[in-house]
Symmetry: C2
Subunit: 316 residues, 2 copies
């Protein structure tokens, strides 16, 4: 293993100048700097992050916390996780996976990325001693990254109208959470701009719940209706039951999902959906968290990422 000392010897300087070249390059003269950099390359030196961690009283580890108790291994979160991991790798950070909220502070992690937070969870956050960032909209001043949910449903609704569906119905998730309110708002605003009356149903975020809804209400739905959904799961359930009822998708009914992760592709027909850049958001969150740690907890703000409309077979 090549250490600071090795580089120092090679460059005929002290360890400290080498350390400074790495951490405070402006404090060392260009000549020496050049010598040191040359030596580092020659020896293929890489700082030992464990030793760095020790002096800095850090662990170089952060936690990826999943609070939502649904199946945590679903592709949606996993894209986030891989994006997050990519962001961490840039700074030699590693991660630990936590699904049990009581174990959050067990390890000596430097910070947390928290996903799946619900209204009831916020008290928990106030007690956290280490920096954290959230994945998911909130309006309590916690740093977060999320999709621009309002823009997403606006895009979906406008697209449905442009495909000449006469009635646009929103099927949301029956959760009193900010992301759901935003998605409903995007739909409502778009319809109202055109003097149309919003019509909203809410179901739990499972395909069979959506399926039940359609089964029960099928008679009430007229042809030329497009369902704008708050998730791909819901969209998949709607399509399934529409077809069970003998309806034609996308000709009689259109269906637009929200998420664009995995389910949209295994569905048949493939889903028109609002695709979230989950991977990218994970990467971003890693950057925010690491910066927050480096700056001992300074606020990082709120970031909304524009989703994209993916046109496929579930709309005409």
């Amino acid at each position: 293993m090549v250490t600071l000392s090795d580089v120092a010897k090679e460059a005929n300087v002290s360890k400290m100048t080498v350390s400074r070249v790495i951490n405070h390059p402006e404090q060392v003269t260009p000549e020496l700097k050049k010598l040191v950099i040359q030596a580092m390359e020659e020896l293929d030196y890489h700082p030992n992050s464990v030793a760095q961690a020790l002096v800095n009283n850090r662990s170089n580890v952060v936690e990826f916390v999943t609070l939502e108790d649904i199946d945590t291994t679903e592709p949606y979160y996993m894209n986030l996780l891989f994006g997050f991991a990519k962001g961490l790798a840039k700074k030699q950070y590693a991660l630990q996976l936590v699904t049990d909220r009581t174990k959050i502070e067990q390890s000596n992690a430097d910070g947390y990325l928290i996903t799946g937070a619900r209204n009831g969870d916020y008290e928990l956050f106030d007690q956290l001693k280490k920096p954290f960032v959230l994945f998911g909209e909130n309006h309590r001043g916690f740093d977060f990254v999320d999709t621009d949910n309002k823009a997403g449903t606006r895009m979906a609704t406008e697209y449905a109208l442009s495909r000449l569906y006469k009635h646009i119905i929103f099927v949301g998730i029956d959760l009193k959470e900010p992301f759901e309110y935003s998605r409903e708002a995007g739909y409502i605003n778009t319809l109202q701009k055109r003097q149309l009356i919003p019509q909203i149903y809410r179901v739990s975020n499972h395909s069979h719940s959506a399926q039940s809804l359609i089964k029960k209400m099928y008679q009430d739905f007229k042809k030329d209706t497009c369902f704008v959904c708050a998730s791909d799961r819901i969209a998949v359930g709607i399509i399934r039951e529409l077809e069970n009822q003998g309806a034609k998708v996308p000709d009689d009914f259109g269906v637009i999902g929200f998420d664009g992760v995995f389910l949209d592709q295994v569905s048949s027909p493939k889903l028109t959906t609002i695709r979230q850049s989950i991977f990218k958001m994970g990467d971003l969150l890693a950057g925010m968290l690491l910066q927050k740690i480096a700056q001992s907890g300074s606020p990082q703000g709120e970031v909304l990422i524009e989703p994209t409309l993916v046109r496929r077979g579930s709309t005409r």
Copy 2:
């Protein structure tokens, strides 16, 4: 932060006795041991794993490497990952996610868990300088954990026979890999024991490939046939196309999948499948890898985990 010294002071001993109580408890007298343990609990002492890592020349980080270039965020791998993470947590280890094989040795990880290895990958392994374990059957002497693939397809085949399907067809994955050979063997052996003739098709591991197969061959398949599949993806594709052709599942045709992760539940009808205990295997692999690291590379052997048959709507 509570350190060794703090505990030492509290217990009126030197740092070393405290250290020994942790690492070599047999070397210290019961009386002192009791004192030290009491002090540790009183102060709620937890060893600083970073400092431990530094003296031991380790990082307390391992890599989770995914070589297969399919969508790496699919639930199958994610269950493994969460099981692995659980196993690591027991020893305060963290992980890094790697999907780019050229980056495996970039970090200073202590070892690797490698998944999705194919025949062409084995040369790579010989060059690895750190301990590693594989997820997936191999016969080149590398330590691994896998499902007992042969037992799995044996169970599936026997179950199909017990449900009085007259013809049992195996639809495998067209890969020349050990796990596939084992799955085929389990099927073949079971049929031969009963003097029945095996009939095998192979497709790529995507639902639409399986769908194409059925579309092309549908005329050749008699009623009362059960398809024993090498994956749930394949099973889902088969069901979809059978129903497109107007056949009745499970009455006319039975379908049995293999994996039991996610897809089997979103399928309709839900899949009868051979469920692998992926999460458990991940946990196990973590234990093996950590032990291998602790024992500086000692072989850990090969472990086969019995899968379970899940009976559901795709068989009668």
